[in-house]
Amino acid sequence: MSLNYDSALAIYEPTLGLEVHVELNTKSKMFCGCATEFGAQPNTQTCPVCLGLPGSLPVVNKRAIESSILIGLALNCSIAPFSRFARKNYFYPDMPKNFQTSQYDEPICVNGYLDVDVETDEGNKTFRVEIERVHMEEDTGKSLHVGGATGRIHGADHSLLDYNRAGIPLVEIVTKIVPNTGKYAPLVARAYVATLRDILRALKVSDVKMEQGSLRCDVNLSLSKIGSGKLGTRSETKNVNSLRSVERAVTGEIIRHANRLESGEKIVQETRHFLEESGETRPGRSKEQAEDYRYFPEPDLVPVVPDAKWIEELRKLLPEKPADRRKRLQTAWAVPDKEMNAMVNAELLDTVEQTVLLGADPTKARSWWLGEISRIANDKAVSPTDLMSVKDVAQIIELISKGELTDKLARQVVEGVIAKEGSPSEVIAKRGLKVVSDDSQLMKAIEEAIAAAPETAEKVRGGNIPAAGALIGAVMKLTGGQADAAKVRELLLKHLGQ
């Protein structure tokens, strides 16, 4: 018998743990002055320090410390008055010094939390995710294994090394265990990463592009039998590179763990890799013995001792919390929970807000972005903001409210803009999409419509007003949708003596 998600959760309670690595967007690296730009030619952004050449020494990037403190403050952490870097010793060709300079037992921020909202069967519910620590470290270089079938080191012919990424500042945010999420575990995990990403974006400390690896998530999961009160063995899933993958990885691991446990097998504490295509995980390279990283305090760096005054100054720089902002916008725009969630999940809240800030009606802005534009974006498998600019959408909404476009015409304008025919006004001009409000032109169409359906016209004359709908529709058709429907209705009824 194999368990599915629901039957697994009838027996087991999941416990989550999330580790998020964030590449900071500092101009220079963690311990040297090299540039950090993504996508440069291999090994062009290196120096004696980040190549680990003999004699070179690290110097901490003050901006990275500032960013880390900001992150800690935004996550309600205490900022350590004294923290240190340590060396994590292990050999790997893409790690220039063969040790990683990282914070170990003395991290810069500890004991925080992040509240995340999840849509449950009983409406929106807030889950508190407790943060254990926020610490700083440096990234490694990148290895490219050439000649093997899998792109992995096994079977490869040779490897290429790029040290541009070596020394890029990373912040690792580690949660405490997250218990009692039940069947919402995948959604809580996703909402946590999404909320965290929003916060980091609002803090302007990282590009938070999961697809470029500037935000990377490791998902730890274990199951315990409901009511047993005993934590199970966990697995750690790496390579989870999108919000959707976070959700899928948790779901997949819950099912995998449950089935193993049910068949009497043990869960191995191991690192697993998430597979985008299948949503499953595969075990990472098995380690014959536990790694001993021989941590010790980094003697080349002095302890980080941030001034209390500086911390308070940084606290003042904190932007509005994303959750607070959401609540504020929801109230101001009078949006129901469901629509609000849809906007957040579609990652269009910022876009809608910007459109509103340009003068658009909030409901219209939301329905255009989530409706027509999202639909086309979905078909093309791109993001809505890749298709239209906030400015164009705001302009179209403005033309509708002025009566210069009907909804139907507006859809054609959107289509034209997406087809790169130009700005909304250019598309309107080129396609001749103007609302017809000239009475004589409309009267001609009305008469034509009446002539085509004399019985319907009689009904209206006789007082059956709803019957006018068919005639209005006919007029609209005759004018190619360019007529102002309200005007047509007014003229038609008048003409038929109503």
Binding site: P54, G55, L57, P58, F91, P96, K97, R294, F296, D300
Partner: protein, 499 residues
């Protein structure tokens, strides 16, 4: 003008145009050509670079530009400091032919001051040793007796001074590598306060202990060089952002009346050669004559210093030396297109590191291992704190502390090379200074009666009070010079071929 002059005398002759920097450099290269086949102080001579540097200084002087006090004076650089495009081996096969793409901060400062860098000097591999026998390129011989060691790890630098191959040298001192070689060659060596001189470009042995410093034949010469290389460096976050104490003025003052000088009880007795103790005591008598007050102080935790040092230094070295992996620079062994990166890394380290280096990497790896960390590295750090406290207590009573620099005079080459523990004991008196991060100087205080070899006198001063050791050292040196009637190196036998 003679190559036996002191650096400050050479500087004076240069400024009076009695000699050019090029001529001075050439005279030293002639001496090197004459004696270095026997002494083997140098691993590499950068004649071309040095002479073009000297030409530059002469040109500037002729143009009437204001030059720094040591402009045009030659110097020997310990091969552990990077110098752009000049081989830097650290005495190791693993770095044979490696030419660093950058200058260490010390080298930058030397070049800016117009000091002429003649070449790179021999050393124990990665500065691990007390005799320079651990160099992968063969030992250096003590100019006082070519069958004896010149000290270590900076034996090349000290020997080059004693053999008049250079009037100035740069050393580095992790547990005594500047001071002990100075002691056994009758020269002066100073380990400044930790953080006083930038470590940027000093290939690390033990980061929390390493410190570069000046080596010379007189206290004043050392002070002049100290002034050039010291000072805050934004590239070294452990460097101290404070004004450098005026060590040159201190070296010239010669007045120590009323100074309180502490003799460390624990740094004498068992293991100290009779002749060493005698010369040390005679020097103390000179200090009394100069009006200093001598106080005996006790530093009870010094007895644990050596043991703690041999946990901290190897631990840090095991991590610092991990980067020598054949991938980005240095030696590569066994890269046949079939072997894995890991195998090549192993073969390279096996072939590239010498025995003492391997011994310390293994020691350090073990000491840092999980389950042992607290007992070894953790305890050693606690000892370090206790040693600091001993110094702090002593410095509440005294301005400086003194001791013999090394327990014995220079021993024979090969005598202790198979007995690491006996070798480690050479540093028993110098290690506490590194553990506490304070300053230490060694200057000659005479020749031991039994072997007529130089004895070193160590002066220790509180952190960032380096001027105090120059003050006491300058005064003692002057008193001894007038007592002897000539510099101590004039008592050394003449080297074959030497001028």
């Amino acid at each position: 003008m003679s190559i036996k002059d002191n650096a400050w005398q050479m500087a004076a002759a240069l400024s009076k145009n009695e000699i050019s920097a090029v001529e001075l450099a050439n005279q030293h290269y002639e001496q090197i050509a004459a004696v270095d086949k026997d002494v083997h102080a140098f691993l590499y001579l950068d004649k071309e670079g040095a002479l073009s540097q000297a030409k530059e200084v002469d040109k500037k002087r002729a143009a009437g530009e204001k030059l720094s006090p040591l402009a045009g004076v030659p110097l020997a650089l310990k091969d552990v400091m990077t110098q752009k495009d000049v081989p830097t081996t650290c005495g190791s096969k693993i770095l044979e032919n490696w030419r660093p793409p950058y200058d260490s901060t010390v080298v930058t400062k030397l070049k800016d001051a117009g000091v002429i860098i003649l070449g790179k000097t021999n050393m124990d591999e990665f500065a691990m040793g007390s005799s320079t026998e651990n160099s992968a390129y063969g030992p250096t011989h003590n100019p006082w007796d070519l069958t004896r060691i010149p000290g270590g790890s900076g034996g090349g630098s000290s020997a080059s001074l004693a053999a008049f191959e250079a009037p100035l040298a740069i050393g580095t001192d992790t547990g005594g590598s500047i001071r002990q070689p100075a002691a056994v060659t009758g020269t002066v060596g100073v380990k400044p306060t930790y953080g006083g001189v930038s470590r940027y470009g000093l290939v690390a042995f033990s980061s929390s202990l390493d410190q570069a410093g000046p080596c010379a034949r007189t206290v004043l010469d050392a002070a002049l060089l100290h002034q050039v290389i010291a000072g805050f460096d934004p590239k070294d976050s452990t460097s101290i952002n404070q004004a450098v104490p005026d060590v040159v003025a201190a070296a010239k003052k010669l007045d120590i009346k009323g100074m309180k000088i502490g003799v460390v009880k624990q740094l004498s007795g068992d293991g100290y050669q009779k002749g060493v103790e005698n010369k040390f005591n005679e020097a103390i008598a000179e200090l009394v004559k100069l009006g200093a007050e001598i106080i005996e102080v006790s530093c009870p935790n010094f007895e644990y210093a050596l043991a703690a040092y041999y946990l901290i230094a190897p631990s840090e070295c095991s991590s610092n030396l991990a980067r020598f992996d054949s991938i980005r620079f240095g030696l590569r062994v066994g890269d046949d297109g079939v072997k894995s990166a890991e195998e090549v890394m192993n073969l390279t380290r096996q072939a590239g590191f010498g025995r003492e280096v391997k011994r310390r990497i293994i020691l350090g790896t073990y000491a840092l291992s999980s389950g042992y960390y607290d007992a070894y590295y953790g305890s050693a750090q606690k000892v370090r704190t206790l040693i600091k406290q001993d110094f702090d207590n002593a410095f509440t009573k005294c301005d400086v502390l003194v001791s013999p620099t090394a327990p014995t005079t220079a021993f024979k080459i090969g005598e202790k090379s198979n007995d690491p523990l006996a070798m480690y004991l050479n540093d028993i008196a110098t290690i506490p200074v590194n553990m506490a991060g304070i300053g230490g100087m060694s200057l000659p205080c005479g020749l031991a009666d039994e072997d007529k070899l130089p004895v070193g006198f160590q002066i220790m001063s509180p952190a960032m009070k380096d001027d105090r050791m120059y003050l006491v050292g300058g005064a003692l040196e002057a008193a001894l010079l007038s007592k002897w009637g000539k510099p101590i190196l004039d008592f050394a036998p003449k080297l074959a071929g030497s001028k």
